[in-house]
Symmetry: D2
Subunit: 338 residues, 4 copies
Amino acid sequence: MLRVGVNGYGTIGKRVADAIRVQPDMEVSGVAKRSPDYVAIGAEEAGFRVYAADEDRIDEFTAAGIDLAGTVDELVADSDVVVDATPSGVGAQNRPLYERHDTPALFQGGEDATVAEVSFNARANYDEAEDADYARVVSCNTTGLSRLVAPLHENYGIEKVRATLVRRGGDPDQTDRGPINDALPDPVSIPSHHGPDVQTVFPELDIDTIGLKVPTTMMHVHTVNVTLENEPDDATDIRERLRSEDRILTIPEYAGIDGAGTLKDFALDAGRPRGDIWENCVWEESITLQGRDLYLMQAIHQEADVVPENVDALRALSGHLTGPESRSLTNETLGIGF
Amino acid sequence: MLRVGVNGYGTIGKRVADAIRVQPDMEVSGVAKRSPDYVAIGAEEAGFRVYAADEDRIDEFTAAGIDLAGTVDELVADSDVVVDATPSGVGAQNRPLYERHDTPALFQGGEDATVAEVSFNARANYDEAEDADYARVVSCNTTGLSRLVAPLHENYGIEKVRATLVRRGGDPDQTDRGPINDALPDPVSIPSHHGPDVQTVFPELDIDTIGLKVPTTMMHVHTVNVTLENEPDDATDIRERLRSEDRILTIPEYAGIDGAGTLKDFALDAGRPRGDIWENCVWEESITLQGRDLYLMQAIHQEADVVPENVDALRALSGHLTGPESRSLTNETLGIGF
Amino acid sequence: MLRVGVNGYGTIGKRVADAIRVQPDMEVSGVAKRSPDYVAIGAEEAGFRVYAADEDRIDEFTAAGIDLAGTVDELVADSDVVVDATPSGVGAQNRPLYERHDTPALFQGGEDATVAEVSFNARANYDEAEDADYARVVSCNTTGLSRLVAPLHENYGIEKVRATLVRRGGDPDQTDRGPINDALPDPVSIPSHHGPDVQTVFPELDIDTIGLKVPTTMMHVHTVNVTLENEPDDATDIRERLRSEDRILTIPEYAGIDGAGTLKDFALDAGRPRGDIWENCVWEESITLQGRDLYLMQAIHQEADVVPENVDALRALSGHLTGPESRSLTNETLGIGF
Amino acid sequence: MLRVGVNGYGTIGKRVADAIRVQPDMEVSGVAKRSPDYVAIGAEEAGFRVYAADEDRIDEFTAAGIDLAGTVDELVADSDVVVDATPSGVGAQNRPLYERHDTPALFQGGEDATVAEVSFNARANYDEAEDADYARVVSCNTTGLSRLVAPLHENYGIEKVRATLVRRGGDPDQTDRGPINDALPDPVSIPSHHGPDVQTVFPELDIDTIGLKVPTTMMHVHTVNVTLENEPDDATDIRERLRSEDRILTIPEYAGIDGAGTLKDFALDAGRPRGDIWENCVWEESITLQGRDLYLMQAIHQEADVVPENVDALRALSGHLTGPESRSLTNETLGIGF
Ligand SMILES: NC(=O)c1ccc[n+]([C@@H]2O[C@H](COP(=O)([O-])OP(=O)(O)OC[C@H]3O[C@@H](n4cnc5c(N)ncnc54)[C@H](O)[C@@H]3O)[C@@H](O)[C@H]2O)c1
Ligand SMILES: NC(=O)c1ccc[n+]([C@@H]2O[C@H](COP(=O)([O-])OP(=O)(O)OC[C@H]3O[C@@H](n4cnc5c(N)ncnc54)[C@H](O)[C@@H]3O)[C@@H](O)[C@H]2O)c1
Ligand SMILES: NC(=O)c1ccc[n+]([C@@H]2O[C@H](COP(=O)([O-])OP(=O)(O)OC[C@H]3O[C@@H](n4cnc5c(N)ncnc54)[C@H](O)[C@@H]3O)[C@@H](O)[C@H]2O)c1
Ligand SMILES: NC(=O)c1ccc[n+]([C@@H]2O[C@H](COP(=O)([O-])OP(=O)(O)OC[C@H]3O[C@@H](n4cnc5c(N)ncnc54)[C@H](O)[C@@H]3O)[C@@H](O)[C@H]2O)c1
């Protein structure tokens, strides 16, 4: 039984904690949180042991009626491995803490690739993390692109990828983020950092990405062009391959799903926890082939798609299951696939 | 066992169907839907018998692989009572259908009050629906106001209510609704229709409402001023009374909940189905008393607050439980109260 | 000829500078700006002398090809009076600079009332600023409320004002401000600071305000209830009085103006510089009287309504014209009134 | 003096009318409008002769105090040429009216290409409209793409264009348009209709476009990839060529312009009527060259970019000036170029 500490219990951390909890081979040793807000209260009500990430704020937790199990240092000491899901940049600052305790750790995509030996995607490079002590689960956008690239690369070869990432301005709970009425080039320079990030997973891949930020909160949308090396028979061929990928959901035309609003509604109807969509969502109607040029559009639930990847990365680090074994166990326990 | 047919399986209909299903004294005889989209597929996967609301589109259902149980006429015939949750105005057109089958029915708040003998709110006037064949569950906004008015009225007497309703432009799945970048007086005339609608529940109440529509999808927000007849001791007195109401959630300051985004996040964390918040959400910090003048702000989850009301209204119509009995059974089965 | 320096050339500063320029009795001695962006370039192209607000960034101005006239210290030295339009809180830090040069100054509504002897609204208390060295032009929302309060107070007496302010989340150029999909109580506590701010202009007024922030950028919208001391004949009476106010625009129903989008479109069609609407915009259809209770809705162009107030405040400080003389000169030169 | 009637005086029509008015060789014979709203009132105040587009509504105009000059039939009779700027699809219905009067006409991009002999862009194919009686000025997006394609095609040759169009959901005055919180594939199928529309101007061009709709009102944003036939020296080479195009504005990095909000602010500061940006706005920092692959991002002011094109198209139809003569006259009279 792998004992996993979750340091940083926010959008990603709380989802990863819930996902770990339903695995047969791991358990949550505790979660660390900075402030005693509704999320911390939720952690306690969910039965997690709560640790203070910031010693100076222990009194605030007490005032809010939260029973602390200790400080983050104690959490790390009590864990076989840590998932660091603190805000971008804080993970790198935390690495010495994990080293001091000689505790392996996972970092998230908000960190620079240099934070860990390996940048991880379960579909693409599970094996590379098997000898590592530290791995970084790549960001939501990079995860979404990697899952698409992997099967295309294997089946047809890829000459070049060009993608535009129309990114949500903030998560639903981030009420201080904008823009309100603008579609912002972000970054203005091309290629955006997302392309190089995909290359941490596929070092040889020729990929150019462009980023924008728009006033939405629910999902990112990618418009993707892939020039394949070998021409597929037809778009149906591509569609079938994507359909057979376990972490890709292909949306049929008759479903009447036109965007993130209906996608989340669909996931909530299906009883998904928090309406989470762990899969890439590819519109079947958008899959188009012009010679060797493939086009498609996909939506990525930024809060959710990295969650199964974290679970798999934990097994890769600990080394007790192979990639296929881990992925299929994760899929089954979470209920991936509609 | 009350057999309930749900005619119109959209935002409200699907939630009411799920709520009925967990009641010990009722069951869903089937649901009627017009188009075979993801919501219809979801109905079938949830195990509901699906009926075609539109005979001309039966083939489309077949094409989408949905097994129809029949047409809406058959659904009505096979039900003891119908919940009509079709779009505004369609309910009134459906009334002759229910009359023809001599089947009692509930309508929703999008219909004119004249569609039924009684306009219903479980907290305020359960008893009035006990002899009725047809009742209308008042709209999300009216439900939210009625729940607030009832305890204030009982405890302090109400001289006058003045409320501004800052309404969400559309539900998350309604991608064709605006506005995008405007806060629209809607209606421009004052009082808005909401005040008179509250008076269908509290005929004697002096209430003026003003409506606006803003570019949000998650919840309505009400700013409310109530001039009470008798001055309460202090704001704490009010807060305690509201806290003790079963369908009002009071939000403490330390929770760090600043709006609908964090409220829904909180509800999803708590495992609520679809993140539904059946309760009025009143910010404790906003509860202010200036002499006999009470002020507060509340958020109303438009998709959810009428759901328990529908369940109670079904029992009021069928007459087998009293108001307090029904409300407490509904609360318990749904998990109302955090 | 009053020589006016404008310190802080942003949303408000650039509009005030343009407004001063068209006055026969004043001129702009120069404008001070921190960064050499498009706004600074625009200042130079408009023919204003540009001063550096920050000595450390002089080189950046040179690099962008902007010819600096000096530093802000020199601007103050060369001005009879300064309009400080720096960001909230910076004005107070600048006051010692103005005192050192013995130069009178105007501050904006983002500063605390204590920044100056007088909080100013041209319609309500012009005379109070006549002996002052420092005055604060109240905020956009307070200006909008004061203009409405003044004629009602004079004609009917006011027992109480209750207003909900549905505020725009950010100005059109503030792309980092949210919320994206939320209507936030802001502040959550009631009354919001706006009520007390109106009392800096009308010390005796009984007023309670509630604030919200929504995902719009163009205008604030106020829903206002005023309990009058003396009952007017009818709503028409009120409408005519408001129509006769020079800085209130009443919107007739046939105009088809439903919100800020159409209002700005209308102002741009009319050739208004920057589409600025200096007037309060009151929907005629919303003006409603229930006994002594008046209701109405108004939209306030946050970027523009304080501009004529600044011009008048300059004359009040310098003392060479009376309030009525100044207001009518300002109205005429700017083209106030449609 | 070419007498031009403008049929349909909305977003596009009113801008075209104003643009015609400042030309030395044409005048507006009148404008036709359906409803007597603020736009109609503005037309009259601007001194245009107003004609009723709908005979049944003449009384409404009278009630609103608008003096009608006649009906649309009379307007056509009194014009040498008509600019039809009615809503999408209405133009085609109007064509018989123009034919009956033997009056040449321009249509807008909302019509199918088949509405006229020529699809027009001033930079790309002015000459093709010289013998035509009817021409269609292509849509805002197609105009924006054509202006970019033309110089690249001439200087380097184009192998292929791939573009993602992140389109504004509605114009600022269209308060009933969404989405509120979604980035919608629109259309879901690829290529979107925009590519074929560009081919009405460049029949040989290999172009694939993808369309999305987002909750913004101010401008469209295009991410563009062009595979050139001949490799330019470097990105600077491209930038200089685009800079030298009269209807392309290149945005330097130091300007601090990050999106549509600041772009419009900049245009309003510069005194542009209605803040109109007739030029494509290309971010210099985004211009990137990877071998023969060019990338860039541009913003397109949907309400404005087709306006100079309409003016030029009028001259092409009437045949009295060459393309270069017309374009330079239009640029000069409107003040194109910052
Ligand atoms: N939100 C997304 O869409 C998303 C998607 C993929 C990856 N990520 C990455 O995941 C990481 C976490 O992002 P998030 O969105 O969950 O952030 P978040 O802000 O929602 O949560 C971060 C949590 O860390 C806590 N925290 C802050 N400082 C801390 C510290 N010093 N020590 C311990 N805990 C601390 C906060 O209280 C909060 O609970 C980032 O690297 C981010 O880039 C985020
Ligand atoms: N959505 C809300 O926020 C909300 C809140 C409270 C009350 N209501 C009221 O509830 C009612 C339903 O609203 P909704 O938001 O659920 O609408 P919806 O559009 O989400 O769902 C309506 C459903 O009825 C079906 N339908 C359409 N025409 C039909 C017909 N002729 N016969 C049978 N079914 C038909 C549609 O396919 C759809 O499934 C309305 O009266 C509305 O005013 C809605
Ligand atoms: N924008 C509005 O809606 C609005 C409405 C009414 C009143 N106000 C008030 O007007 C004031 C200015 O607001 P704004 O919206 O124009 O801000 P802004 O940010 O648009 O402009 C402020 C300007 O001041 C400059 N600046 C920053 N620090 C400076 C310093 N130390 N010295 C000199 N200049 C400096 C900035 O470069 C910028 O040009 C604030 O008090 C604000 O509360 C704003
Ligand atoms: N708005 C844009 O962003 C944009 C950009 C480029 C091209 N276009 C195209 O320009 C055309 C006009 O679009 P718009 O945005 O100006 O529309 P609009 O709705 O703003 O204006 C259309 C005008 O036509 C009038 N009208 C309606 N029916 C009429 C009829 N039967 N006869 C005469 N007048 C009638 C309306 O009253 C209105 O004044 C469309 O083809 C559109 O696709 C629009």
